[in-house]
């Protein structure tokens, strides 16, 4: 029992906030994880909204291209996409800058992470939002058109609010996926939570302590997110009739 007690207190010392402990590093990693997840989620929702409307109301060419985008992204591992997009986009941006007579730039890890994960999220969000839009009764949209609303106004006032209840479970799921996908950026050396915990673990050799701590932080994040999404779902369902069984 003595040994267990001292091992526990040693672990807690390692997790302390101030420097001999690594708590501050882990929290900084958590901050980066949340930042990237929020950014990528925003980019993904934006791309997903465009993609969903494009797939439903776009011309045949738009639909084909969007189909290609969602198929490719959903068939190739995120890790591979991250590498391809990271190198390709950095290269393209720099070549464009050189062609225009500017100097090369170094794209920051945060920006690259947000962009890459955002593109991946966009493909999944396209499918989620497309399904949700299809759940809006056609009569509602036809009525709005008959009232002479412009397509943008129909989207803003009728389609988007009515599709929300159907979209939120899927979007909540996508948020869970993006928070976990940030871990993949550890492989390309970005300092998010998993990478910070690996560095701490590698230095102190306390692998269990730090990976467990990171896991607990991820779990807390997902539990808090669940609560928030439950609230949002209740809010989005306000005023809708519930079909009783």
């Amino acid at each position: 029992m003595m040994a267990d007690g001292s091992a526990l207190s040693a672990s807690l010392d390692l997790l302390a906030y101030s420097p001999p402990g690594w708590g501050a590093n882990l929290l900084r990693g958590l901050g980066n994880t949340v930042l990237i997840a929020l950014g990528a989620y925003g980019v993904g929702m934006f791309l997903g909204t465009l993609g969903a409307f494009g797939k439903l109301y776009g011309g045949p060419l738009t639909r084909d291209l969007l189909g290609l985008y969602t198929t490719l992204v959903r068939a190739i591992p995120e890790l591979v996409l991250i590498l391809i997009l990271y190198f390709a986009v950095t290269d393209l941006v720099n070549q464009a800058l050189l062609a225009l007579g500017y100097a090369r730039i170094q794209i920051s890890g945060v920006a690259a992470g947000i962009m890459v994960l955002g593109v991946v999220q966009g493909a999944y969000a396209t499918e989620v939002l497309r399904g949700a839009i299809q759940s809006v009764p056609a009569g509602q949209i036809e009525a709005a058109r008959a009232m002479g609303m412009s397509p943008l106004l129909v989207a803003r006032r009728i389609t988007l609010p009515l599709m929300l209840p159907a979209a939120i479970p899927g979007m909540a799921n996508l948020w869970m996926i993006v928070t976990k996908d940030t871990a993949l950026l550890a492989v390309v050396g970005f300092n998010e939570l998993v990478q910070e915990s690996r560095q701490a673990a590698g230095t102190t050799k306390a692998f269990f302590t730090f990976f467990m701590a990171a896991g607990v932080l991820f779990l807390c994040m997902s539990l808090v997110s669940n609560q928030i999404f439950a609230r949002i779902e209740a809010w989005a369902n306000k005023g809708t009739k519930r079909g009783g069984i």
Partner: protein, 264 residues
């Protein structure tokens, strides 16, 4: 209903144009980029070995994970609380933390713990436990079990009560009801989703490269390090995964077409 049907009937012009652009891009990639490394026998052997490792890890972990998922789902759907709660907690933990973290926790954590116990080092299992792949298989299997356990919970709950009551009225034993009524109907419900889940699992397999298992992703990384070629190995990697995903989708579509339609 084959894939080539649209061509025989009438393929619209834009598809021809898209196909031509696609072929052009592929031709450019094949001709203008540097593929000379593909001709070295050393890399050819590594690539085959890598693809093989990716595929067997995928198949083994899917099968083992699904076998584990059945009791986990059943415990949550119909089990007493002392089985349901742990199963639920297991699913929450697996689904709430990144797979990469679970993998590293098992590999580095257990891997640093085991050598401290002499009886483990002296046991016959030690040559296996010293390698990386058991940890990769374990982590990926647990991941499938967690995600599919949740799916199976819904599937077990979705089997209509009338079916179970009818079975009971026939005087079937509890085990008989489970084996002949409950389990087959629950599995029939999840079958259409398993193809998609397998593709998702395939997308997780490159993570094992981070713990030194030589899958196709690790091979591509190795080629990139050796030759300083940036894009080509990545493109090959993307192509390999696209083909595997296509094969998975086609296999499950074929498998589903052979199954009788659900009568429920």
């Amino acid at each position: 209903m084959s894939l080539f049907d649209p061509i025989r009937t009438h393929m619209p012009l834009r598809r021809w144009v898209l196909a031509a652009i696609g072929i052009g891009i592929i031709a450019y990639c094949a001709l203008a980029l540097n593929w000379s490394w593909l001709q070295t026998p050393k890399y050819q052997g590594m690539i085959f070995q890598g693809v093989w490792n990716t595929i067997w890890i995928l198949v083994v972990t899917m099968v083992l994970g699904f076998i584990l998922a059945i009791p986990i789902g059943f415990a949550q759907a119909a089990g007493p609380w002392y089985l349901a709660r742990p199963a639920q907690a297991f699913c929450t933990v697996i689904r709430g933390t990144p797979l990469l973290l679970q993998l590293w926790l098992l590999y580095y954590g257990l891997g640093s713990l085991f050598p401290m116990y002499p009886w483990i080092r002296e046991s016959d299992l030690w040559p296996i436990l010293r390698q990386a792949w058991p940890y990769a298989v374990l982590a990926l299997t647990l991941s499938v079990a967690g995600y599919e356990g949740e799916v199976m919970r819904g599937a077990f709950k979705g089997v209509p009560q009338g079916q179970l009551e009818a079975a009971r009225a026939f005087g079937m034993s509890r085990w008989g009801i489970f084996r002949r009524i409950w389990l087959p109907q629950a599995v029939a419900r999840v079958l259409p989703t398993i193809g998609g889940e397998t593709v998702l699992q395939m997308k997780s397999t490159p993570l094992v490269a981070t713990i030194t298992v030589i899958d196709i992703y690790a091979v591509a990384s190795r080629v990139r390090q050796d030759t300083f070629i940036i894009y080509e190995p990545l493109l090959l990697l993307a192509l390999v995964y696209l083909i595997i995903a296509g094969v998975i989708v086609a296999l499950f579509a074929w498998f589903e077409s052979r199954l009788p339609k659900r009568v429920v």
